[in-house]
């Protein structure tokens, strides 16, 4: 109970700070939209090809915007040595991890909820009915990204060139998530249902659960001095 209370307290604090500044959310959203434009100019896709490419392009956009968000994830703790203030407090390290993962997940989901329909509009796609299922897969993939991303973001917190280092160590580890979300979304687009992509969904759930557990257990080794 105390675990969830602490995590909730921290998450509420982060959301309140983000609502006041809106820095991370706005930059992520703007960057995501920008990427859609860049994709449109660089690929010049025929309408029938776009739906096929949609999962890959969307995920590239999410991956890059997510990385942008991760670099800022501990910003509120970096100012004024607040990280130390949290570390001297009786805050459970696992709760700290869960709070940061949830915060990151909420930010990314907000951006995705806007960017995905925008993709459909900009590329003139019609199959709006697929969107809920596609979003479900995106949700699972984003959760995996946030879990591992938060852990590695804390890992690079005190490293030199941390913004550059983070994607270098994160992306290779993310390959199961990248493959599973894109192939899973392709399966949904092909068949209109989840059945065909079921193995990919199971892989995603497995990834999320495994690294969430690992993160809760190991976060103190990463965050403590």
């Amino acid at each position: 109970m105390a675990f969830l209370k602490q995590a909730g307290l921290l998450l509420a604090k982060d959301l309140r700070l983000e609502l006041r500044r809106r820095e991370i959310l706005l930059t992520m959203f703007f960057f995501g939209t920008l990427l859609l434009f860049v994709f449109h100019f660089s690929f010049d896709l025929a309408p029938e090809k776009v739906l096929e490419m949609a999962p890959a392009l969307l995920w590239l956009a999410f991956l890059f915007t997510g990385t942008l968000g991760l670099a800022q994830l501990f910003q509120s703790e970096r100012d004024n040595h607040c990280l130390d203030a949290l570390l001297v407090s009786p805050l459970d390290r696992g709760a700290f991890f869960v709070a940061k993962v949830s915060f990151n997940l909420i930010l990314m989901l907000i951006v995705e909820v806007f960017v995905m329909p925008l993709f459909w509009i900009l590329f003139n796609l019609r199959s709006w009915n697929l969107m809920p299922l596609l979003f479900l897969i995106t949700l699972l993939g984003t959760a995996g990204f946030c879990v591992l991303g938060t852990l590695l973001s804390a890992m690079t917190l005190r490293a030199r060139a941390r913004e550059l280092l983070l994607p270098l160590i994160l992306f290779p580890l993310m390959i199961p998530v990248i493959l599973a979300t894109i192939r899973g979304m392709e399966a949904v687009i092909r068949s209109g249902g989840l059945a065909e992509g079921a193995p990919w969904l199971r892989l995603l759930v497995g990834f999320d659960v495994m690294f969430l557990t690992a993160g809760i257990l190991m976060f103190d080794w990463v965050i403590d001095n």
Binding site: K13, D79, H81, C82, A85, V88, D220
Partner: protein
């Protein structure tokens, strides 16, 4: 709370910040931690606060060695760094509420108001910390630890940014803490100030503890040790 420190050592890469430091702390003590820059004062405070782990040696709280995830002890240790450890984009009151909940202290709104009042911060309670002067931030830090009631309170260089009234408030607060049996450790360069305040002085020099005595009047041994190791009279 009794604290025992045995053969504490800490190295950072090729530098050693502390070596072979041993002493005890008993309830009610107000300890001045002195020494030139780089003597290891901040490192010792960080070790006591559990912010960093010793390279060797141990710190025991009531005979108990806090290990990994020892949150029970963390709730009893305060680390007052003036002007820091506060969220700039939360208001004065929000900061206090946040830390009270984090330390699981169920203070009423009235208690919060009272704490703000004693430090003449009531009129500022809805302002963002970013908008406060550094003196105000220090007062807020005092209010924070007044509410969190730690049994061991650590202070790193608290005088630097305090105004005259702030100093009085801080010293009054520290003395009251010691009167009710809590331990206070103050690291500072303002030797004359802390000497009047403290009940005991420690001098660190190049990571070693070279002086440890309770305060006396007159205190020749301190003057000697002090002039030997702090030749510039900081």
């Amino acid at each position: 709370m009794h604290i025992t420190i045995r053969q504490l050592a800490k190295s950072y890469g090729f530098l050693w910040a502390l070596k072979d430091v041993s002493f005890d702390l008993a309830p009610g003590e107000l300890v001045a931690l002195l020494g030139p820059n780089g003597a290891g004062k901040t490192t010792l405070l960080k070790l006591l606060a559990g912010l960093t782990t010793p390279t060797s040696g141990a710190i025991e709280f009531d005979g108990d060695r806090p290990g990994r995830n020892s949150n029970r002890w963390r709730s009893k240790i305060g680390f007052l760094v003036p002007g820091e450890h506060l969220y700039e984009n939360l208001t004065v009151r929000e900061n206090l509420q946040f830390f009270c909940r984090l330390y699981d202290k169920n203070h009423s709104g009235a208690a919060l108001d009272h704490a703000l009042d004693t430090l003449s911060l009531s009129s500022r309670s809805k302002e963002f910390v970013a908008a406060l002067s550094s003196g105000m931030k220090c007062r807020l830090a005092i209010a924070k630890w007044q509410l969190l009631e730690p049994e061991l309170l650590l202070l790193d260089e608290p005088y630097g940014v305090l105004d005259g009234r702030g100093v009085d408030l801080l010293e009054g607060f520290l003395k009251r803490q010691c009167e009710i049996g809590r331990i206070v450790v103050v690291a500072s360069h303002h030797v004359s100030r802390v000497l009047q305040l403290c009940s005991r002085a420690l001098i660190l020099h190049q990571g070693r503890l070279i002086f440890d005595e309770p305060r006396r009047q007159p205190w020749e041994s301190f003057a000697r040790a002090f002039s030997d190791f702090l030749p510039h009279g900081e």
